[in-house]
Symmetry: C2
Subunit: 277 residues, 2 copies
């Protein structure tokens, strides 16, 4: 146990909000290692990751490694190591493993083992298409966060998510409602809502009350900070995890200053966000 939880039932969410308070930041740095860009810097993956983590840790509320990049380059060991490194050197900052897993119960248990036992992540992103019984194997880990896709940031997300149902709701509204009313028995569910869709974000915030939302799509994907905060911020100035990957980690392209450039981009995003809180 790397920190003392006030209430084991919502440990991840507590840790997240404590980090938001301590660092006065809603920023989450996404760790998406692009093999070619890192090779061009001429440094090792582990070194690249540790430098980024060290220069930004005082200005974030979470780190979010994207497992697809690690898997494509056979870097399971580096993923294990960087999560362990964050837990040791920056124990106040929780780690969200971005994996978007989804499968039937017996298989989902294996994915939960992958995220929470093997990689020691504090939270994991999951896909709701298969239904609530496939989310339960994650939420039964009461101390962990389970971040369910609701309205994603990509251009084509409306193809299914914005379909209008017979009862007048859209599909993403149903996911938000089911998340609040059915899937959140252990108070450890969060939702993913893209910054690229502030109208849908507003709608989801009204549906889910205080539930924290993970917001990708700021920066390279075009999401606007002001519109995001107006739509999604809670009255207490929290409730959002605003994630940026490429806009921070690739802000610089020189081995001597990429980490400093990332720190500057991270601080800039933190300050831009805070001026609207």
């Amino acid at each position: 146990m790397k920190f003392q939880a006030r209430n084991p039932a919502d440990m991840f969410i507590n840790q997240l909000e404590q980090a938001q308070e301590k660092n006065q930041s809603l920023v989450c740095v996404g760790l998406d290692p692009n093999e070619k860009k890192i090779a061009a810097l001429g440094i090792e993956l582990s070194d690249w990751l540790e430098q980024l983590v060290d220069t930004t840790a005082a200005h974030v509320c979470a780190f979010k490694p994207q497992i697809a990049y690690f898997a494509a380059m056979q870097a399971e060991q580096e993923l294990t190591d960087i999560i362990s490194y964050i837990h040791q050197k920056h124990p106040d900052i929780p780690v969200i493993l971005d994996a978007k897993r989804g499968d039937i119960g017996s298989t989902a248990e294996q994915y939960a083992r992958e995220a929470f036992e093997r990689y020691q992540a504090d939270a994991v992103t999951v896909n709701p298409y298969m239904g609530g019984d496939t989310i339960e194997p994650y939420t039964q880990h009461k101390d962990k966060g389970v971040v369910v896709l609701c309205k994603t940031s990509n251009a084509g997300s409306g193809e299914l998510q914005n379909l209008k149902l017979a009862n007048g709701d859209t599909l993403f509204e149903t996911v938000a409602k089911n998340a609040v009313h059915n899937w959140n028995q252990n108070n450890n569910v969060l939702l993913v809502v893209g910054a690229t869709y502030p109208e849908e974000l507003d709608n989801i915030r009204q549906t889910v009350g205080d539930m924290p939302l993970l917001i990708p799509g700021i920066g390279a994907q075009g999401g606007d900070v002001k519109a995001t905060l107006e739509a999604g911020l809670r009255a207490d100035g929290k409730g959002l995890i605003i994630s940026s990957s490429r806009g921070i980690i690739y802000a610089g392209d020189h081995p001597d200053n990429f980490a400093l450039k990332a720190q500057q981009a991270c601080i800039e995003l933190k300050n831009t966000i805070n001026q609207y809180r």
Copy 2:
């Protein structure tokens, strides 16, 4: 290139149908290595996998390793090795990597690399919740199969998939229609439909024409062979990949005969299926 494709545009589907013809089988053996059960047999994971593959290869049309089990036990190397082993020893039998991946385009490209380059799978299962633009990074690999979740076999799959839309269709029907009309430009899309829902299978078959369907849920999950074939078989007696994992690979529990028991269970399923074709 491990086989000669007649038409590169539908290479996986050709290979699949050639294997169905050659082995007179619609059976796919799911390779879901349960760490405890294999430890109880007292044999190595690679040995367990190779024995199962060798005893069943003459009676199947595909193998389907479930990556979650491998990931939970840090067995990436064994997964790589068994796929390579199948390609070498049983080159007529395609491999479907069951991974149910889904993410925005730039990340989906990494997952496509994971499945097709790193693991050399012939096909991969993917989740449609994020929309067609997140499926394209897989389908652009024209020689590979992309198996999209439509109506899954789990008890709770209806929670979202059977929602009725304003236009009268259900969500899974929309997935089936979009798969046929929008996502299948390269003729390499298939759908997952659970054997546990023959009525929905019948509906989907009518919607998708000749598109091959991967059918989990036979055996341990309770799906019925006769009802599945009546609902989903094409006029040519093909069009289905009927997958069984636990019912075959754990048919025996003794190191001296588990592979033989698996072979018997596989042949039995093949014959049961063929009597209704």
